[in-house]
């Protein structure tokens, strides 16, 4: 008696609001930049959209033969990596034994680090070992990082710290 469908398949015109009538995508007029996901080593291609100098969307690059436009939850989240209220936007300094961070000018921090590097290097540089074999190295400074950095950044790290300063312990977590 009350069998379905209760409504005919024919649909009457719908009462759209003006906003609904104008419905559109925020990507219209945006600038597209090609990128690569910074998480795991699958290497998914990404489309990064910006507008008015801000990041507005990141999604998979459908042209990439590796991911064909898809992303995992972390890749899909990468918008939140860049646009995030927890993100630190200024250089910070914590003095020895202090209980808080202090905001410092970027250039001040860099100068101070350079001085500390020089100090430690001048003190710790060893030209030869006890047997007179050449060492030319520093073992009181080290660096750790790399596997989420760009190749070019790794190259600069290795070049400056190892070939330039003689720091031996230039490391990252990449191993086997």
């Amino acid at each position: 008696m009350f069998g379905l469908p209760l409504l005919p398949n024919r649909r009457p015109p719908q009462p759209y609001s003006r906003q609904t009538e104008q419905k559109g995508s925020r990507l219209r007029g945006a600038t597209l930049t090609k990128s690569v996901c910074p998480y795991c080593a699958v290497g998914c291609g990404m489309n990064v959209y910006t507008k008015g100098g801000t990041l507005i969307d990141i999604e998979g690059n459908p042209d990439s033969p590796i991911n064909e436009g898809t992303l995992c939850p972390k890749g899909a989240n990468s918008f939140q990596l860049a646009v995030n209220p927890h993100r630190q936007k200024f250089a910070l300094h914590r003095k020895p034994f202090a209980d808080r961070w202090e905001r410092v000018p970027l250039d001040w921090a860099l100068n101070r680090v350079a001085e500390r590097v020089k100090e430690a290097r001048d003190e710790g540089f060893r030209q030869k070992n006890e047997k007179g074999v050449v060492l030319n190295h520093v073992t009181t400074i080290g660096t750790l990082g790399g596997a989420t950095l760009d190749n070019e950044e790794n190259y600069l790290i290795k070049k400056l710290f190892s070939a330039g300063l003689g720091v031996v312990s230039v490391e990252n977590q990449a191993r086997i």
């Binding site: 015109p13 899909a76 989240n77």
Partner: protein, 285 residues
């Protein structure tokens, strides 16, 4: 003095109160109606769909609760979770199955939320999907109780009802919805619903050939009181195991009997009243 801005706001809202014209939309079975086909046999439970949806729609995270329901910590669809991956561990001594599927609005051809909406906020759009117009919704919540799939919900943040829009905004530019685009294994597919149904039937056949005899489609044909859903699923176990209703009821179906019953009760009451008061009147001096 009323500030000018308020007046202009009111003026801007006026056409919404009296839509000057109505937008034609395709019929429920038209070729251009779009939908989802979600294949549980390809779902790896990664939840990319959940995050891609939140990212595209800029929806808030709901909160931090360790539920212990396998790897499901978002629990169910809601006003700010429009894709939800359900997990069910069915592990036997010979290591059985870990079921996963990404649930979403079914975009019913005869959607009870749309039928129950008293303001005209919920409409069918030009892609045949069910869309809640957030600027019209008054937050009455009739749609929330009408939906047999537990999809639509009212947000505690703004008091309005929200659910999957099938990425209405993206579709206007010819882009596929964010969840389907992100899905790493193509468990979520998007397209003209008629084509999807064909593709899904072929997939079931192939799975049967490979010995996976349990594979079947949910919602590609009628399910419960519903005709074909515009978002249907390929499952390998009982719908209950995926948190889907076996026979979703259509609330409208109850409407005529309830009206009839209401009328009958009214008529009966009237008859009783007539009888009682009539007698009383007659008995009066």
């Amino acid at each position: 003095m009323i500030p000018l801005a308020v007046l202009t706001d009111i003026a801007a809202e006026l056409p919404n109160a009296f839509p000057p014209r109505r937008t034609p939309v395709p019929d429920a079975d038209a070729d251009e109606v779009m939908g989802f086909f979600t294949d549980a046999t390809l779902c790896i439970g990664c939840k990319a769909c959940e995050v891609a949806c939140k990212q595209w729609n800029q929806l808030p995270a709901d909160g931090l609760e360790f539920t212990g329901y396998s790897y499901d910590n978002t629990k169910h669809l809601g006003a700010t979770t429009w894709r939800h991956v359900a997990f069910k561990e069915k592990i036997t001594p010979d290591f059985g199955k870990w079921l996963m599927v990404s649930d979403v609005c079914k975009h019913c051809a005869a959607a009870p939320c749309q039928q129950s909406c008293p303001t005209g906020s919920i409409v069918y759009n030009e892609f045949g999907s069910v869309y809640v117009q957030p600027d019209i919704c008054n937050g009455c919540g009739y749609c929330v109780v009408a939906c047999p799939f537990g999809v639509i919900d009212r947000s505690m943040i703004d008091g309005h009802a929200h659910k999957c829009t099938l990425c209405f905004d993206r579709q206007t530019e010819g882009m596929e919805p964010a969840c389907a685009k992100s899905c790493p294994t193509d468990s979520i597919q998007f397209g003209p619903i008629k084509q999807l149904r064909e593709r899904a039937r072929e997939r079931v056949e192939r799975l049967h050939e490979q010995g996976r005899a349990d594979a079947y489609l949910y919602g590609a044909d009628s399910v419960g009181d519903y005709g074909p859903l515009h978002s249907f699923f390929l499952l390998e176990d009982h719908p209950h195991e995926y948190n889907l209703p076996v026979a979703p009821p259509q609330p409208l179906r109850n409407q005529a009997p309830r009206y009839a019953a209401g009328l009958a009760v009214g008529a009966a009451l009237a008859a009783v009243a007539a009888f009682v008061f009539g007698r009383a009147a007659r008995a009066a001096p």
